[in-house]
């Protein structure tokens, strides 16, 4: 297993992978073609599982030897028992959920930690684009037109942090990517991150102690 070269993965997935300890149990919700799961398996010996909506994604994952089910995060998370995983990952998917608030609560019921990555709708380029063009802004991360996009619940970094606060979720760590795709802390200023961060990665935990923790 260790003989395999580490697959190269997207920067935001690297940030997520950094947050995950070796040999842990991970559920990747909306795992796509399994890039993160494969990386975690080969590099960190993680016991990984995935849920993916698209059958192309699922076929690719299972064909690559990953444990992935075809399912819908909006409905299928309810099946899993409490604290079944060390980490539940939701990468670039929250904005496509029908009920993001409920999904967040479910993530932290199933996992001791949740790791959520999301595009920031308050990035300055998007703000300016809306101001000057008067059209729904698009960028690398939010590439589709408004009528085509699966992103039905876009939010900003500050929106997300506010939601976490209101439902008793602690943000343990946050990392941001600027529009060059490089990680930055923006001097640990949330307001600055909300302006300059194109994407954000949060590690979350429940404020209440999990029963087994």
């Amino acid at each position: 297993m260790t003989a395999k070269p580490a697959p190269s993965i997207r920067v935001d997935l690297q940030l997520i992978a950094q947050m995950i300890e070796a040999n842990s149990r991970v559920l990747d919700v909306g795992c796509g073609d399994g890039m993160l799961l494969a990386y975690l398996w080969h590099v960190k010996n993680v016991d990984g599982r995935g849920i993916e909506l698209s059958s192309e994604g699922v076929n690719a994952c299972v064909s690559a030897g990953l444990s992935v089910i075809q399912g819908d995060a909006d409905t299928d998370l309810a099946d899993y028992p409490d604290a079944a995983f060390d980490y539940v990952v939701l990468s670039q998917t929250l904005q496509a959920m029908r009920a993001p608030r409920q999904v967040l609560i479910e993530l932290l019921r199933i996992g001791k930690h949740a790791i959520v990555s999301m595009p920031n709708f308050a990035h300055w380029r998007l703000r300016l684009a809306l101001l000057f063009t008067g059209r729904m802004p698009r960028n690398r991360v939010l590439a589709e037109a408004w009528h085509d996009t699966p992103s039905i619940h876009l939010c900003t970094i500050r929106d997300f942090v506010a939601l976490c606060e209101s439902i008793g979720i602690t943000v343990e760590r946050s990392l941001f990517l600027n529009d060059q795709g490089s990680p930055s802390h923006f001097g640990r200023s949330l307001a600055l991150a909300n302006l300059l961060g194109e994407q954000a990665v949060f590690m979350l935990s429940s404020r209440k102690k999990a029963p087994n923790a």
Partner: protein, 395 residues
């Protein structure tokens, strides 16, 4: 000529002289059946492909469906056609016999050499007929464990099966989890629905309505209920296909000429096809076997055995599961597989699940479906890596 010899001589191939292996079990420890009866001194027929490795860790048990048998990947000794999963099993194929030792056991109640109504009851010297006890899917699996013991295999690398084979896979994982590393139930369900039972009942009634069935004692009088069994097969065969597949394959195309006959001969190609399916089936299958095996499937209800909670069947399981369903399968449709996936998720089991897009209906698992092969092959490769099995060329 004694009655059972008449039956055997009625068939193209004497079942007692089929290729493969046939072992007698139950002489020391009889097999306790779910119905309460015990089987002592009974034959089980099986076939193997590939080579068992030194550590005996590369065995894959393939479980056959209702009308399948142990001849998975060779010329069938009765029909002369390719084995039912020749596309999938063989050297270099998805279930690679250069790498894995593949076993397939003729199920209890079957008619290809394993104990069933068409075999001789040693206590009476006659064929069992309807005196054969009712068997269940779990009984079939218990008999398969005897084959494994006989071969000295403690743990199977994988158990794989579609349809009724998938039911056996589920029973393996539930009853003998320590003997299974990976389980692949394909196009199957955790219980038989009212609709499933209803279709089977049509088949059974067709057989029993045939005067040549003779209350199940047809072998005494040298008859076989060909017509009833053929109708049962025709009705069942429709459930294995899909409306779109039938439309694509036959539509309303006529068998001969361009005009309707205004009679009841074969007008449509689909009629001819179904009749052919029925006729070829009766050449290789025993009518009473068909009654027993369909009954075993109808009795299959795993959730009921576990207090209505299928998840309880798999609590703390270490088995790696891969469930596969097909979009156009309306016999065991995707929601049935999903129900099993949900139960496995509820116990945080290691499970993969893929729904393959296909218009071939239930039979898709027997056909050339590239996505299906890729998913199954990938799952097996990943599981083999986790199991620490060497690749084919370095064994």
């Amino acid at each position: 000529m004694r009655a059972h010899e008449r039956l055997h001589s009625n068939l193209p191939v004497d079942r007692r002289n089929l290729p493969g292996h046939r072992v007698f079990f139950g002489r020391d420890t009889p097999l306790q059946l779910d119905c309460g009866a015990v089987l002592a001194d009974f034959p089980v027929a099986y076939q193997t492909y590939g080579t068992l490795n030194k550590n005996r860790t590369n065995a894959i048990l393939v479980c056959h469906a209702l009308t399948g048998d142990q001849f998975v990947a060779e010329r069938h000794p009765v029909t002369g056609k390719d084995g039912w999963w020749s596309l999938m099993v063989g050297p270099g194929k998805t279930i690679d016999t250069n790498r894995f030792f593949v076993i397939c056991v003729n199920v209890l109640g079957g008619c290809m050499g394993s104990i069933g109504p068409a075999e001789v009851n040693p206590a009476t010297g006659e064929l069992w007929g309807l005196r054969f006890p009712i068997i269940t899917i779990a009984d079939m699996v218990r008999a398969q464990t005897m084959v494994l013991d006989h071969l000295g295999i403690e743990q199977l690398f994988a158990v794989i099966g579609g349809s009724m084979g998938g039911m056996q896979v589920l029973e393996w994982a539930a009853l003998f989890p320590e003997r299974v590393f990976a389980a692949v139930p394909i196009a199957t369900a955790s219980h038989h629905t009212a609709q499933n039972i209803a279709f089977h009942e049509v088949g059974r009634q067709a057989i029993m309505a045939d005067p040549d069935w003779c209350d199940g004692e047809y072998w005494r009088v040298g008859k076989r209920p060909h017509r009833g069994l053929a109708v049962a097969r025709m009705a069942a065969h429709i459930t294995y296909l899909s409306e779109s597949k039938l439309t694509k394959k036959f539509g309303r195309r006529l068998q001969t000429g361009k005009a309707l006959s205004y009679g009841f001969n074969v007008d449509f190609q689909v009629e001819s096809y179904l009749r052919h399916q029925g006729i070829t089936f009766v050449e290789r299958f025993d009518a009473n076997s068909y009654l027993y095996i369909t009954r075993a499937m109808d009795y299959f209800d795993m959730p009921a055995r576990y207090g209505g909670q299928l998840a309880n069947a798999f609590r703390d399981t270490k088995v790696r599961f891969c469930l596969i369903s097909f979009t156009s399968d309306w016999l065991y449709p995707t929601p049935e597989s999903r129900r099993i996936v949900h139960a496995l998720n509820a116990v945080a089991a290691n499970v993969s699940f893929a729904e393959i897009v296909s218009n071939a209906g239930h039979d898709a698992f027997l056909l050339d479906e590239p996505d299906f092969r890729r998913v199954l092959g990938g799952f097996l490769a990943g599981a083999a890596q986790h199991r620490g099995l060497a690749a084919a060329n370095s064994r």
